[in-house]
Subunit: 342 residues, 2 copies
């Protein structure tokens, strides 16, 4: 009776068998009202809490969900997606007695796969949330082979069976392009993130579609890698073009801010000479100069919807429909009408 009380302690204190206690607490078996009351009272008095370990062993469930994040070291501290997404996931999970086993990995794909194996093969989780989907992603096959439920964060391009909770990247890009086109911009360029990730590809396609829809010429796309360094390089490359683009859409805020600094260094004024938009929002964005116009996504909500979906999969509910979030453009100071033609 030292340490946490067990179901046996409760049974003994209440003068019943441990199965009676289990029935009383779960409400599943046939149990007398009076006995149930007594058991509940005793359990509360002893401060009994079920051991998730033991419960999991008999039900072959862990009541835990796994999540692996992989980021290069330069990005791990600046990513405005990571923390609120986890927070959203956990808020939802904890309401349903699930825990989150997360694994954050600094490094590349090899370590990431290893992270998956670790969580899955130890039998620690009932399901996985997959982020940063790549075009052809080995994890999907891996999890399907293992019979492990999963939910994709961001819809894969190929029709992958299994549910996805995604942001409408296409709408985000379109909103950015429309905003710039409304201001009068005709030459809009993009500095993309990793093209290996599905949302990178999706954004690039959406970019060209949105330009075409406004009757604008195909814009230049400079590949980036989400780091500040590559943002500055992207800006540099675009400023050398002739004719120079008058507006640039960056895949994330860090690249956009670094790009703006590079522009300033070259004597190019934002937004007078060139407008800048970022495709994610960041708490720092309002405070840089000029304040950064950005597409804002409710990442907390995204996380909680992902959690809800993976729990539904685990409970074996019929395929839930894909969930699609939409983002919202927040106009700040980094966008303005283009400079008059020289």
């Amino acid at each position: 009776m030292q340490g946490r009380p067990t179901i046996n302690d409760v049974a003994q204190a209440a003068g019943v068998s441990k199965s009676a206690v289990s029935y009383a607490l779960s409400g599943r078996g046939r149990i007398g009202a009076e006995t149930r009351e007594r058991v509940l009272a005793v359990a509360a008095e002893l401060g009994w809490q079920p051991s998730q370990q033991a419960r999991g062993l008999s039900s072959s469930r862990t009541y835990a969900v796994g999540l692996v994040f992989a980021r290069p070291a330069e990005l791990i501290g600046a990513d405005p997606f990571f923390a609120p997404f986890i927070a959203g996931v956990e808020a939802e999970l904890s309401h349903h007695k699930y825990a989150l086993l997360s694994q954050v990995i600094v490094g590349g794909e090899a370590e990431e796969e290893e992270g998956y194996r670790r969580l899955v093969s130890g039998g620690r989780v009932d399901g996985m949330i997959l982020t940063d989907l790549r075009d052809i992603d080995p994890r999907i096959g891996l999890l399907r082979d293992l019979g492990m439920p999963y939910v994709a964060v961001g819809r894969p391009m190929q029709a992958i069976d299994g549910p996805a909770v995604s942001n409408d990247d296409s709408a985000s890009v379109t909103a950015a392009v429309d905003h710039l086109a409304d201001l009068g911009h005709q030459r809009i360029a993009q500095v993309s993130g990793s093209r290996a990730l599905v949302h990178g590809l999706e954004r690039e396609r959406a970019f060209h579609r949105a330009l075409a829809a406004r009757g604008l010429y195909a814009g230049t796309v400079i590949p980036g890698d989400f780091t500040g360094q590559s943002g500055a390089e992207g800006m540099c490359a675009l400023l050398e073009l002739s004719p120079r683009p008058t507006a640039i859409i960056f895949a994330n805020g860090l690249m956009a801010i670094a790009g703006m600094q590079e522009a300033a260094r070259q004597g190019v004024s934002v937004p007078a000479d060139v407008s800048v938009v970022a495709l994610d929002d960041n708490p720092i964005a309002p405070f840089v100069t000029p304040a950064l116009t950005a597409v804002h996504t409710d990442v907390l909500l995204w996380g909680s919807l992902s959690a809800r979906t993976i729990m539904a999969c685990i409970e074996g509910e019929p395929d839930t429909a894909d969930v699609v979030l939409t983002s919202e453009l927040v106009v700040r100071g980094s966008t303005a009408p283009p400079p008059p033609p020289a």
Copy 2:
């Protein structure tokens, strides 16, 4: 034999009892070399992995560590500590077959305590890592009552029994003050973070000690709350002082960047009129204008040392000594000699 193979499957395939398999795999019992080889081969062939659930049940261990983070919504996306710390913890834990159960909470102290209860009372973890220690922190008593090992991240001021892995905040502040004093500053102010957190108090004391050591007058301390908003307000308040401070130390990068923007808005130039230093570093810091001078801490290392310490506590090793990290000042563009007296 569907689903994951169990130890019974291995035993049957190898033609031995399941206890023999357990001994062979753990290397603890008396087992013949030939039998051990055969069991290991069969286990590898079947792809057997031990179930952490079952293992935990008999050893009354979970092989998991808990970590609760609580942040206001405005900070959750901008905190450069959160993600690399988790990454460091997990890198270390995963090498030792431990998993991390993290819980990120958007909100206040009440939800935070609830988060602790959830992880601890379900018997899901063997130990806890405590961050954001407050001056008198209820969690320490809670965990001690439960007999749950813990490690404090940041040394509590009172001599709390139990190990701590802390950054030498005092040295960070001193480095910042010395740098500014070396440049010739005489009126140095500070915009602090939450004073309820122990490192807030520690930094404030260290600030006054460092100033005194350089023979400078006591500097003004404006209380902040780590948000950009409060950074701007702090800058505003300090610029109204007469005589105006010539250098300001902000508790974090977000406040510093917001403060610099506010200064620019008022026509005050950084660093010509006022120098700015942040007490944490951020991947964005090099890319704002002017680039932000900051105290850089190896947060990844901090995390892995914390993980190592909590594992040592769980394994019952004699009290490990406190670990203290030191930070390093990274001088960028936001600090310069003070303006000549008017």
